[in-house]
Amino acid sequence: MNKKVLYAIFDDEEILLESVKVLRSKEIEIEEVYSPFPVHGLDVALGFKETRMAITAFIYGCIGLSFGGLLIYYIMISGVGKSWPMNIGGKPNFTFYQNFPAFVPIMFECTVLFAGHLMSLTYFFRNKLYPGATTTSPDPRTTDDKFLMEIIVEGDDNKMRKLLKETGASEINEKDTNNE
């Protein structure tokens, strides 16, 4: 019913980090934290799971490696290559094994190409970043020098305001719900 969204603004990342720890120890749920730069230890303090971006890169890399391997296997060995196998410059394409050293660069590049691009696309997708998207930060100063903590309070918010002030928030704003 009586829900309020509080925006506590901090001036320093160390104060923010301490405040997050205090709030979490009191089992208060923090909706979101916005910061102008990555704050080390914040993800742990907020209880985030480790991100799986690196795992996706590994999977994409494996796909790239297989793609590169199959591509040249088809082009050089089984497809056109089969009809006219040749040995030029000590690089015979009679079998994949014999021709393998010459394929290493292509397979490597395909691995990096797939891993790099597909991971980046996954990153954009997961973070909902795309051209035309607008910022979701409630305060434009969060890309400059302010750190913002978003908390949803039910009922009386004075206790929460006091706690935030005590842990070092420099200002506390409330989400203007009338405009929405």
Partner: protein, 461 residues
């Protein structure tokens, strides 16, 4: 928090706050360009247009417009190509390899270094493209299902490896660069007022992809940066190794050596760092980044130049030794001809600019002087161009048949295209310096408390 010894020199000068960093980085984007910028920009565009004219003439009349002949069938085109690709390497080294090594000083320079990489690789790509003669068929270098036979590429050719390596390098570097740029574009977007500059606000909103700095996003950001650095590190070594194989897998004396891949990679890093210095020493003045790009940064880069320059020198001497030790008369002659033949002056320029002059960096007062560094970096840029010229032209101009021995001299079209790419490069870089956040400010803010001069003094007291 990251701790750093207070006796290390600060990386951010002056008593900066987070807001100061924001303001300083956004200033060139928000302000107007000064006179010097317009002069440089005008000159660059003029060179670029001249280059375009020469390229158009080449495509219209054919490669005969260049100074190539039957004996020297590769000259300035591939020299310039390798030179530009090499210049690109420092950007990736700074942003990727130094990230893996946790070198904090990279943060002030990685953005511009990587911009240089991308613009340099673009210049490099122009040369094989126009050397094809029919650049509208350039897409034939990529494997795609077709009805010309079917006709496929020869995957045993290092020239095709080049296609894969350079396209991967260009695109992955661009993505790496852009992911780092997004939070900084967001910073600029949030400073722009809707009423004063609505178009700019719209543009930066578009460029920032809706970044808002959520904690989870930053967590992913850091991991993605680390993984991309991990991918880009072997990539940067592979690219120039493959470029060197264009030569090393052939049977021309002077090219057919196994030292080429490491030797080319080192030379690339060497020349790349020199170009980074050339650009940054000018840029820090023009856009007022003196507090962020300090003499300490320049000194660190000079140490790398000294190190890679000495290794390049070692490679030159190793090459000479191996030519003598091989006992092959042709190999021996190729190197004797390089040093004492008709192109001795190019060899001397290469040796003095790349091996002897960088040794001056052993002297601390030279290593820590902006003016001396600027002059020396120009020497290295010239020396590395001559290195590629020496390798390519001197190995070809006296080939297997003495009756076909000849000399190479560039036509004004050759020179025009080369100058055109320099103009194009500086046009791109100057436009970048006015519209992009030239320092990775979000990253820089993370080291303000450990490496800023104010905080250093505090801990010292």
């Amino acid at each position: 928090m990251h701790k750093e010894s207070e006796i290390r020199d600060p990386l951010i000068l002056g008593n900066k706050t987070y807001h100061d960093i924001t303001r300083d980085i956004a200033r060139p984007v928000e302000g107007k360009a000064n006179k010097y910028w317009w002069i440089l920009f005008g000159l660059s565009v003029f060179l670029f247009l001249w280059g375009i004219g020469c390229m158009a003439y080449t495509i219209g009349t054919g490669i005969g417009a260049w100074g190539l002949n039957k004996t020297v069938n590769w000259a300035w085109d591939i020299t310039n190509f390798v030179w530009w690709i090499g210049i690109g390497h420092a950007g990736t080294l700074i942003s990727a390899v130094l990230l893996l090594f946790r070198q904090k000083w990279r943060m002030a320079i990685n953005r511009s270094a990587e911009a240089m990489t991308i613009f340099g690789v673009v210049q490099a790509g122009i040369f094989p493209l126009i050397h094809m003669g029919r650049p509208w068929l350039a897409y034939w270098v990529f494997p795609f299902p077709n009805e010309y036979g079917p006709l496929w590429q020869n995957f045993n050719s290092p020239l095709l490896w080049d296609v894969f390596a350079i396209s991967t390098y260009l695109t992955v570097s661009t993505v790496f660069w852009y992911i780092g740029l997004i939070p900084d574009f967001a910073m600029i977007r949030d400073r722009m007022s809707k009423t004063i500059s609505p178009m700019k606000k719209k543009l930066y909103t578009l460029l920032a992809f809706g970044w808002s700095g959520r904690a989870k996003h930053w967590q992913r950001f850091e991991e993605v940066s680390l993984v991309l650095a991990g991918l880009a590190t072997p990539l940067v070594f592979s690219v120039h190794s493959i470029v060197s194989m264009d030569f090393a897998t052939s049977v021309i004396p002077g090219w057919h050596t196994t030292i080429f891949p490491p030797y080319f990679v080192l030379g690339a890093l060497f020349s790349g760092f020199a170009m980074v210095e050339t650009l940054l020493i000018i840029m820090r003045k023009v856009v007022n980044m003196e507090a962020y790009i300090t003499i300490k940064h320049i000194e660190y880069m000079n140490v790398i130049i000294l190190f890679t320059g000495s290794l390049v020198g070692t490679a030159y001497i190793t090459e000479l030794f191996m030519a003598w030790y091989s006992g092959v008369a042709f190999e021996q002659y190729a190197f004797l001809n390089r040093a004492t033949g008709p192109y001795w002056w190019a060899y001397a320029a290469m040796m003095s600019c790349n091996v002897i002059i960088p040794q001056l960096y052993w002297i601390k007062s030279i290593r820590t002087s902006f003016i001396a560094t600027f002059i020396l970096s120009i020497f290295v840029n010239i020396g590395m161009w001559f290195e590629r010229f020496v390798i390519i032209v001197t190995s070809l101009h006296r080939d297997f048949l003495p009756s076909s021995w000849t000399m190479f001299s560039p036509t004004f079209i050759d020179i025009g295209i080369f100058l055109g790419t320099i103009g194009f490069f500086f046009t791109l870089f100057l436009m970048y310096a006015r519209t992009f956040p030239v320092v990775a400010q979000a990253e820089l803010k993370t080291i303000l408390k450990s490496s800023g001069s104010e905080y250093k003094n505090k801990t010292h007291e």
